[in-house]
């Protein structure tokens, strides 16, 4: 019996080497431990043994069975490995670069816009929008810039033909439609539709009839802010602007409010920025945005009682801020869409 079992294990070990597929393994397994298997046959013969022989033989059989199980487990492992290998193919060289395209990226103007909006959201401003084609009334008249006002010379405007009708900006009267020259027109629309108090920022695309060069663009982007409430003061204006500048350009950036003129604010200022961290533009005053208290005439034109309410407004150029933040020296980069530029902001 002992010899027979030893022979059985030896044969099993020998035959196992030839097994290479799962089917062969199943057949092999059946030959040994299947209903008609060799080891099964030995185990069945136990019944013919005497009471005394059984423990001895039982022990031998267990040993043989254990040996066979080990062989089967090793086979199982080997076959699984070869199956996985076949399924996955050759090993990968981890140093090869991925054939997939790299992550995309946001345009630097989008990044700058979101950065600015995030800052103003912290101050309780929410985003408002309006049409890019505006009536002259919304773009100029309501902002205290009537047709014969010299402030209309400050900017050259692109007009749509008389036959053009906008579904988004119906004319009030006979006025022309223009490509908006600033997003202040959104302020007008907000004042006409909402009841104070409110604080809004209006990001958007604007247009001037300008030849394109390093600092001029046929279209550009603005972010304008408006805060209407009772008793809004110049101190509030300074507080808002200080906060914005420190958030955007760091704690050591400083501002000054330089008196200026806009038809829609009184008093009006240009806000200048000075910062030690702006490369070759460091440590000098740079004009960043226009701002002021909303002119009472504008409030009245927009149907807000100027005796009860006052407001502050400001507007900045997105391109200008992005150029300062990233050290970009030519506004045309924003519109050329050369990936060697765009990927720098990934």
């Amino acid at each position: 019996m002992q010899t027979q079992l030893a022979q059985l294990v030896a044969t099993a070990t020998q035959e196992a080497a030839a097994v290479s597929t799962r089917a062969e393994m199943e057949a092999y397994k059946a030959r040994i431990v299947g209903p008609n298997g060799s080891l099964t046959a030995v185990m069945k013969s136990m019944a013919t043994l005497s009471k005394e022989e059984r423990p001895v033989v039982g022990k031998l059989i267990n040993e043989a069975k254990k040996a066979v199980e080990e062989i089967l487990a090793a086979l199982q492992q080997k076959i699984e490995n070869s199956e996985i290998g076949a399924a996955l193919g050759a090993a990968v060289d981890p140093t090869l670069t991925s054939p997939d395209a790299a992550a995309g990226s946001l345009h630097p103007l989008t990044r700058t816009r979101e950065r600015i909006l995030t800052t103003f959201r912290k101050l309780g401003f929410t985003v408002a929008e309006g049409p890019e084609i505006e009536t002259e009334w919304h773009c100029f008249d309501a902002l205290n810039t009537p047709p014969d006002h010299p402030a209309r010379d400050m900017q050259d405007t692109l007009y749509m033909p008389k036959s053009f009708r906008s579904a988004d900006a119906p004319r009030r009267g006979e006025e022309a439609l223009v490509l908006r020259t600033h997003t202040s027109s959104v302020q007008v629309r907000t004042m006409l539709t909402r009841k104070p108090p409110f604080r809004i920022v209006a990001p958007g695309r604007c247009f001037r009839r300008d030849a394109v060069d390093a600092t001029h663009s046929a279209n550009f982007h603005q972010v304008e802010g408006l805060w209407i409430d009772k008793n809004v003061t110049l101190a509030d204006l300074r507080g808002v602007l200080d906060f914005f500048v420190k958030e955007t350009f760091g704690a050591d950036a400083e501002i000054r409010l330089r008196p200026s003129f806009f038809p829609f604010t009184e008093p009006s200022f240009e806000m200048d920025l000075r910062s030690p961290n702006l490369g070759r533009l460091s440590n000098r005053w740079l004009e960043i945005m226009g701002c002021g208290l909303v002119d009472p005439k504008v409030l009245e034109l927009c149907e807000i009682d100027s005796k009860e309410y006052s407001g502050l407004a400001f507007g900045l150029g997105l391109e200008r801020i992005a150029m300062l933040i990233h050290g970009i020296d030519d506004i045309r980069h924003f519109y050329n869409n050369d990936l060697r530029f765009l990927r720098q902001f990934a």
Binding site: G104, G124, P146, A235, D236
Partner: protein, 811 residues
């Protein structure tokens, strides 16, 4: 406006004030200083007078001369020179070695083409004296001594500040106005104007006058004065006047023109001089009549607009009022008698007329900014002084005046505490009084605060809020305190479209697309490709600047396609690009609507080779992006319908158009027209998608999802393959199967979903047919469905579908 420091000093004592200090002060008053330039000869002690003793051609350079120059130091020096305009014994300025020229260039002993040169002989321009004649500045006529420092021949240099004056500050378009600002800011006294001509006025011309009548019948000219000046000798102006004009950037012409220009610079009041002999009978300011023309001084002949304001004589138009004179009545060398006009024209009308005529003059610029009516008569008298003094004129009688000044000083009632309330800080009454007094305003306390009298030269100050600005300008904006941020208002939120814009951008960037940004203004050919010829008409600008930017865009795809082509050409290895922005689309009713467009585009295959290939980006993946973007906007993808795209930007048979008619959402996706993208230089196909969202699509707030319970029992699934004629579109089969499966479920259980898992045509199928296979999934809310129930439902589905004409079930 160019402000000469020396000229400004005539109006306000500036000893102890440097031009640099002024350049710091003026911006904080609202007068931006764009540059400070030295006018005249800067101190250059090493530039001296020399004499060219002899010269000969440079041995190695045809254009150069080798000169022997005596600068009075005993020994002639050799200097190589490129100029041609001199002769032997000419005296010229010589910059000795060590001189730093106005451009910052230092003169050194050097060799020019191997010949020693011991200095440089200078031109007018090189010395910073402005563009003179070509070549060296020849000093020979003045006979200066050799070795004299050039600075001794010229007066002290002046500084000219170029200031930009905002449209509200017409008063600062004259030196007097700028001087008032400086005096107020620095606490200095304004020097009085010295005018000899008396301030007497007449209501009608006398026999001595060179005109028989003067009148204004124009609403645009409420105030007009005219005086006669006889025996004027036209000739050059004195040096000081020429200097002042040049410092202000004007070209001296003759004493008559120069005097009117000089007064304009001085006081900001434009004047006009007529040759009295050319004026027939008298002057009338009136509206232009039909068919009238005028040849302006610059030679341009214009057809006058009926009704626009002109100055005329008894017969014809002479002057475009406040803008520019005509050639026929202008002053010439032969002029002896002059009519001097000083008037006030309505700002808006002058601006309008000047713009319409396409001219902008120093005169129109000032009238359009509301000149001081009180300055009209003053300017006329100052000019008269000068005509008498410099041109030998004899004044005849007083000025004849028609009308009266249209506005005078203004009294503003400033409520107590108004300034403090606008500033957000408490301001003492004494400070308010002191500042307004410095500005030349008269302040008196009233019962409710202050009464402030603002002189007529400050037409921009009429309301209490304007006084706040005046106060801050002088008080100093740095003294405005900063409030602490105020808490946000509850319930306010960003517009949905702005939130969507950013979320969509993040999503597309995350999917590997790079965001682009293109100009809104495009050329006509692009619009024609996008919308056809009708779009070209509908989206044209009225006044485009260039032909490349003549239309507003209707799609973002052409821009993206050109960006892809660009990046292919520069080897930047492009793949996916996207853009989000506003486009303009003509509507059925003839109007044009703005849409927020989200567009993406990618080459189907990577444009550079890779060690491992990837599945191409196909039209179906583009469609997936379309569905995802619309659902991000809150529009269920089930609302979208797709139809085959036939033309335009898209490749026929490989692209589709989408629409949600209810919300006017439109778009397209698929392969771009291959001929076009190949023309752009892109090999392989380009896959794109674009969705147009009207603003109204973002009208409502996003629905807050409500939880719905779902069954915990397994579904029953069945497959059905439908054979239909090839022309039947998938969406039709899909909806029929869906209806049938829903109907089959009855009221007892429910259809959960169906989806198409196989599309087949070819071997084994009848010609002109195709098979679409769907998996149907039913589920019961509270128990497991039995096989019989599912089979019975399946029987209903088959029976229903087979009712379709030409439809069979594949067994």
């Amino acid at each position: 406006m160019k402000v000469s420091f020396q000229a400004l000093s005539r109006h306000v004592e500036l000893s102890g004030v440097t031009p640099e200090r002024l350049a710091e002060v003026l911006p904080m008053l609202g007068l931006e200083v764009e540059s400070i330039q030295t006018f005249g000869l800067a101190p250059m002690p090493l530039v001296v007078v020399g004499e060219i003793l002899s010269f000969e051609k440079h041995p190695k350079a045809d254009r150069l001369s080798v000169c022997q120059v005596d600068v009075g130091d005993g020994k002639p020096r050799q200097i190589v020179c490129g100029a041609k305009n001199f002769k032997a014994n000419d005296r010229v300025p010589v910059a000795l070695p060590g001189t730093v020229m106005p451009g910052g260039f230092e003169i050194k002993v050097s060799k020019l083409r191997e010949v020693d040169s011991m200095g440089m002989m200078c031109s007018s321009e090189e010395l910073g004296l402005g563009k003179g004649e070509d070549g060296l500045l020849i000093l020979t006529p003045q006979k200066p001594a050799l070795g004299t420092p050039l600075n001794k021949l010229y007066g002290a240099p002046d500084a000219v500040l170029e200031i930009s004056v905002t449209p509200n500050r017409g008063d600062c378009l004259g030196l007097r106005g700028v001087a008032r600002e400086v005096a107020a800011a620095l606490g200095l006294e304004l020097k009085p104007l010295k005018i000899k001509t008396a301030a007497d006025l007449a209501a009608a011309p006398s026999a001595k006058d060179a005109f028989k009548f003067v009148r204004s019948t124009s609403e645009f000219c409420p105030y007009y004065t005219l005086r006669t000046l006889r025996n004027v000798k036209v000739g050059p102006s004195p040096d000081w006047m020429r200097r002042d004009l040049e410092a202000a950037g004007l070209r001296p012409i003759n004493n008559v023109v120069d005097i009117t220009n000089w007064v304009l610079i001085e006081l900001g009041q434009p004047l006009h001089a007529f040759d009295a002999k050319k004026v027939r009978e008298g002057i009338e300011v009136r509206a232009a009549k039909v068919g009238e023309t005028l040849t302006l001084l610059d030679g341009k002949k214009i057809n006058l607009e009926v009704g626009s304001c002109i100055v005329a004589d008894a017969e014809r138009a002479l002057v475009l009022a406040g803008v520019m004179g005509g050639v026929e009545s202008g002053v010439t060398a032969e002029t002896t008698d002059i009519l001097l006009e000083a008037a006030w024209f309505r700002p808006g009308e002058v601006r309008r007329v000047a713009r319409r005529a396409g001219v902008s003059t120093d005169s129109s610029h000032r009238f359009a900014r509301d000149v001081d009516p009180a300055g009209v008569e003053l300017a006329s008298r100052l000019a008269t002084d000068l005509f008498i003094e410099l041109a030998g004129a004899q004044e005849v009688g007083p000025a004849v005046v028609v009308g009266k000044p249209p506005r005078a000083d203004v009294t503003i009632e400033l409520p107590a505490g108004f300034i403090s309330a606008k500033l957000g800080a408490v301001i003492d009454d004494k400070q308010v009084e002191a500042i307004f007094t410095r500005l030349g305003f008269k302040v008196s306390s009233s019962a409710k605060g202050f009464s402030v009298v603002v002189p007529s030269y400050r037409s921009d100050v009429t309301r209490p809020i304007d006084l706040v600005e005046e106060f801050i300008r002088l008080h100093g904006s740095e003294k405005i305190p900063a409030s602490r941020p105020v808490a946000p208002l509850p319930g306010d939120s960003d517009t949905r479209s702005s939130t969507f814009t950013h979320e969509a951008a993040l999503r597309l960037a995350g999917a590997g697309f790079t965001e682009c940004c293109h100009y809104t203004l495009r050329d006509a050919s692009e619009i024609e490709r996008t919308l056809g010829a009708s779009g070209v008409t509908q989206l044209a600008l009225e006044n485009p600047l260039t032909a490349e930017q003549s239309h507003i865009r209707a799609s973002l795809i052409p821009g993206l396609a050109s960006a892809l082509a660009l990046n292919v050409s520069v080897h930047a290895n492009p793949r996916g690009l996207f853009e989000i922005g506003v486009v303009f689309r003509p509507q059925a009713d003839g109007s044009v609507r703005e849409f927020l467009s989200v567009a993406l585009l990618t080459s189907a295959e990577p444009v550079v080779r890779s060690w491992k290939s990837r599945e191409a980006f196909d039209a179906l993946r583009a469609q997936r992006f379309v569905s995802d973007l619309t659902s991000l906007a809150g529009i269920a993808s089930s609302r979208l319908s797709f139809t085959a795209a036939e033309s335009g930007l898209w490749q026929e048979g490989h692209a589709s158009l989408l629409a949600d008619r209810g919300r006017s959402v439109e778009g397209g996706c698929g392969i771009l027209d291959l001929r076009w993208t190949r023309q752009l230089g892109i090999k392989g196909s380009v896959v794109a998608a674009e969705v147009f969202f009207p603003r109204a699509a973002f009208g409502e707030a996003l629905r807050t999802p409500r939880f719905e319970a779902f069954s915990s029992f397994p579904p029953a699934t069945r497959d059905v393959a439908v054979i239909v004629p090839s022309g039947v579109v998938a969406s039709e089969v899909h909806s029929r199967v869906q209806q049938a499966a829903a109907k089959a479920a009855g009221k007892d259980f429910a259809l959960e979903a169906i989806h198409c898992f196989d599309v087949f045509s070819g071997p084994g199928m009848a010609e002109g047919t195709k098979s679409l296979a769907f998996e149907i999934r039913w589920r019961h809310e509270s128990r497991t469905l039995t096989d019989e129930e599912a089979n019975r439902a399946m029987g209903v589905v088959i029976a229903t579908l087979e009712k379709g004409a030409g439809w069979t079930i594949r067994k």
